[in-house]
């Protein structure tokens, strides 16, 4: 076995009806950007649970992060983060929303002119804007790691990024959320997780 160091600072809150615990995880004085995807969270009750838990926090919403989080869309969110002086990010979604949030966590503190450089020049983020997640689609494992993959339609690129500053501060995993996921996405999730293990095992 090779020598290694291991540090994973993400707090996992796992179980039934745990979304309500958001309330005690986000700093009371935070200005939060709530990020989500295509809007399924508004149909399956997750959105209500999240907004109820955040009733006493200053929250702005940004929906519409697509599967394979798109750089151009995320740049719009980055503008909001800067214009509104956001201090905390909350991803409510699957791997795409969480990865997009990691990009924003890095881009919010990035000092260069072009955030895409974080991906092309493999700039590792030592400390990003703090963020947490509410996982709505088990698959990628992004809720407890520091990597992300971002897509750019303009150039048909899909590139990876990461760094020790990109672990979520917390992730809430309520297995009840999968009850409304379409079968196709459940099958994708199983395949994704299985292949993750294969890639680490077959060496």
């Amino acid at each position: 076995m090779n020598n290694f160091e291991f540090k994973n600072p993400t707090k996992i809150i796992f179980g039934k009806d745990t979304i309500a615990k958001l309330e005690s995880e986000i700093p009371a004085d935070a200005k939060v950007l709530l990020l989500y995807g295509g809007g399924s969270i508004k149909k399956n009750g997750i959105y209500e649970q999240v907004t109820k838990a955040l009733a006493n926090v200053d929250v702005i919403e940004f929906g519409g992060i697509p599967a394979n989080p798109e750089y151009a869309v995320l740049m719009n969110a980055l503008q909001i983060i800067k214009d509104e002086n956001i201090t905390y990010l909350l991803a409510v979604g699957g791997g795409s929303v969480i990865d997009g949030t990691k990009f924003l966590s890095a881009a919010a503190v990035y000092e260069g002119d072009t955030p895409w450089d974080i991906l092309t020049k493999t700039i590792r983020t030592q400390k990003g804007m703090p963020f947490g997640t509410v996982l709505t689609l088990p698959a990628t494992g992004s809720e407890m790691n520091s990597g992300a993959v971002i897509t750019r339609a303009e150039t048909k690129e899909k590139l990876a990024m990461g760094g020790p500053g990109l672990f979520p501060e917390f992730s809430i995993l309520d297995p009840q959320v999968i009850s409304s996921i379409p079968e196709r996405q459940l099958a994708n999730g199983i395949t994704d997780a299985f292949t993750h293990v294969l890639e680490q095992y077959m060496t």
């Binding site: 090779n2 994973n8 292949t195 680490q200 077959m202």
Partner: protein, 167 residues
């Protein structure tokens, strides 16, 4: 992996059943939270090639992995057959035959598992415009100076052959 194989049909049949849902959710997190890859090198070549298929064709990420993985393991069979055979024994209970037989059967079992989930494993199942994909991906990897795999031994021309096998 055994947990995923065990709970997959239950989760697909009834996602409101809490116990398999919880096993599935935690398995996904544990599969990539850094813990299991400690002390060993990671491969990730399947992901790197798969990402290109999503970038070029918009195919779901997981499906690109299922397209590339069987070809990747067949192409790198000699380097990976001992691990493949061990995986075949432990996860798929393959007990008959030589190392080569077990390793090959493990790849077949993996592909069959994806099919059972309703996941197609050939690029041509997803697009008619696959001609030239392997060359395009090899060119991108060359331009980026990428070498893949746990030993950085896979060159762009190897990726080209693997992607072509996945047509």
């Amino acid at each position: 992996m055994q947990t995923l194989v065990e709970v997959a049909p239950k989760v697909l049949k009834d996602p409101t059943d809490y116990t398999p849902a919880a096993d599935f959710m935690w398995s996904c997190t544990m599969a990539l939270n850094g813990l299991i890859q400690k002390g060993v090198p990671g491969d990730w070549a399947v992901h790197m090639m798969g990402h290109e298929l999503t970038a070029l064709f918009g195919i779901d990420h997981a499906r690109t992995l299922a397209v590339i993985a069987p070809s990747h393991y067949k192409y790198n069979f000699e380097a990976k057959k001992e691990k493949l055979a061990q995986y075949g024994e432990r996860v798929w209970n393959i007990s008959e035959g030589s190392i080569d037989d077990k390793a090959y059967a493990a790849i077949e079992k993996t592909e069959a598992f994806f099919h059972k989930l309703g996941i197609d494993t050939k690029l041509s199942d997803y697009t008619k415009d696959y001609d030239g994909t392997a060359e395009e991906i090899a060119k991108r990897f060359t331009d980026r100076g990428w070498k893949l795999g746990e030993r950085q031994a896979l060159m762009p021309e190897d990726a080209q052959k693997i992607v072509k096998m996945a047509y």
